[in-house]
């Protein structure tokens, strides 16, 4: 028998990939729905602003990637429902390995979802991508990391699948609407504009739109804020999950 962390992370990544692929419903719906909405909203945005296609694509991307928090949350909450997280903790795998094995497939799913939506937006909706692909990839990676960390932290805190659904649905609508995913922040009422920066969606929309037009400086600032948010949420999630839930906090 050989014992090395990389092997265990590879085993866990494969395992979590199988779990995610066995339950692809959310991912499919969160790909199809934004594509349809981009096409529907494009004439509306196109008629009222110069960057209509970009608003339609990045807005729907942010809204449905926030809805994808339920994919992240379910990945964690299911372990709790099945009592498998503590079972994994009793194996030789360290908490950081367990978390890495769980995070990698979900991060890839989030990144692929965003990449597909951006490609669709560029090819079909007509979003002009003038910035370098690398900058866009960095923005997608940062937003995926922030979503992963927030979703895992939420799943570590909620007590049931119902609570997770409520937090994800209400949270996604609030975060994306307030963040300017539906209506550009500049067109919102003053009070909404004042509190918009409190929403991670605001920084995500700003970052993605800046990356699409190739504005490096305007991309990096929101990216830094989202990365910091991800680090805080991720740390909280790591601490909670490495302790497990015990028998007193079962679902």
């Amino acid at each position: 028998m050989r014992h090395d962390p990389l092997h265990r992370v590879a085993v866990l990544t494969r395992h979590n990939t199988i779990l995610r692929l066995r339950d692809p419903g959310h991912l499919i719906s969160y790909l199809v729905m934004p594509m349809a909405l981009m096409l529907v909203l494009k004439p509306l945005y196109g008629g009222s602003m110069t960057e209509g296609p970009t608003q339609a694509v990045t807005g729907m991307l942010v809204m449905f990637s926030v809805l994808s928090l339920s994919i992240v949350g379910t990945a964690t909450l299911s372990e709790r429902t099945w009592h498998t997280w503590d079972r994994l903790r009793a194996t030789p795998a360290r908490p950081i390995e367990l978390l890495a094995g769980k995070a990698i497939p979900v991060f890839v799913i989030l990144a692929v979802q965003q990449a597909i939506l951006l490609a669709f937006g560029s090819a079909v909706v007509g979003m002009p991508v003038t910035g370098p692909v690398l900058l866009l990839a960095m923005a997608v990676a940062v937003w995926g990391f922030a979503l992963l960390a927030i979703g895992t932290a939420v799943a570590a805190l909620v007590r049931s699948q119902g609570e997770l659904s409520a937090v994800c649905d209400v949270g996604a609508m609030a975060v994306s609407t307030l963040g300017g995913a539906f209506v550009p922040v500049a067109m919102m009422p003053p009070w909404a504009q004042a509190i918009a920066p409190a929403s991670p969606g605001y920084w995500a929309v700003s970052m993605l739109q800046a990356a699409v037009r190739g504005d490096v400086a305007a991309t990096l600032r929101p990216a830094g804020i989202l990365a910091a948010l991800g680090v805080v949420a991720g740390t909280a999630a790591c601490v909670a999950l490495s302790r497990g839930w015990g028998r007193s906090r079962l679902l």
């Binding site: 395992h15 009793a90 194996t91």
Partner: protein, 270 residues
């Protein structure tokens, strides 16, 4: 192999472990018995590293990869097949490729899972899931095996398969801590006994040591009468009763002191 000393664990106002001490040596099966709430599962969780004790020491004489733990609750992925489940836990224990495939085949045969390897865990019966869970703890042939009520709710077939597999692991030199409410299982396993009560071990020894001096019962049934005598020497008592009878006996039943008697006696005395 495993030595825990003076474990104390509180969950809020509940004192789950109160000076719990236990040792399991290589090749030994320790049968841990006790009422619900005696501290058996908390001990298993502490010994397996899931819960940190407030006080006390846990010494495990082998690397973590050479331990196996099957918790009391079923903890399996319903959407995985049994083979995928075993690949996961075998892989985490360090088994790879051919060694892993061979280990899966062996444990599947041992626990009667061969026909179910490619079925999803969620569609298996309770007994099959119990066997699959035990298999996750045993397939890498751990030197220390901890099974927390592995036969809870299991049918006789499942129970026999599990007991045979556990006995085989102990015969290979593994130390086994086997928690159960089914005391006859421990007799079948030839386990040494540890009786837990209120978070500590109150009796420890072989079955012969702990059962010596406990009363059994002799029962004679005649056509119109039944005689029951509680005695610490059923054989001598039976001989005396038969010598003094002048009527035909229809049935004789000699019940020697059992683990149930021990459990009741020790728990009552404590």
């Amino acid at each position: 192999m495993l030595k825990v000393t003076g474990l104390v664990k509180r969950f809020g106002a509940t004192l789950a472990l109160d000076g719990f001490s236990l040792e399991a040596r290589a090749g030994e099966i320790v049968g841990l018995v006790g009422h619900n709430g005696a501290g058996k599962t908390t001990f298993a969780e502490v010994a397996s590293g899931l819960v940190k004790p407030d006080e006390g020491q846990v010494t495990v004489g082998v690397p973590r990869a050479e331990t196996g733990f099957a918790p009391q609750r079923l903890a399996l992925y319903p959407s995985l097949t049994v083979r995928e489940t075993l690949r996961l836990f075998g892989g985490l224990a360090g088994l790879r490729r051919r060694a892993l495939a061979r280990a899966i085949d062996e444990i599947a045969q041992s626990l009667m899972l061969t026909g179910f390897l490619d079925r999803h865990v969620g569609v298996l019966s309770g007994g099959q899931q119990r066997r699959a869970q035990a298999a996750t703890a045993m397939l890498h042939r751990p030197a220390l095996l901890m099974l927390d009520e592995p036969t809870a709710g299991a049918d006789p077939e499942t129970r026999k398969a599990l007991l045979d597999a556990v006995a085989a692991r102990a015969a290979e030199g593994a130390a086994v801590v086997y928690t159960t409410h089914y005391l006859p299982e421990l007799a079948d396993l030839g386990a040494t006994l540890a009786v837990a009560r209120a978070g500590r071990i109150i009796a420890r020894g072989t079955a012969a040591e702990l059962l010596g001096g406990l009363p059994g019962e002799v029962r004679l049934s005649m056509d119109d009468e039944e005689i029951r005598v509680t005695t610490t020497d059923p054989t001598a008592t039976l001989a005396e009763l038969l010598a003094g009878l002048d009527r035909p006996v229809r049935a004789i039943d000699v019940r020697r002191p059992s683990l149930d008697d021990l459990y009741r006696a020790v728990a009552h005395a404590a």
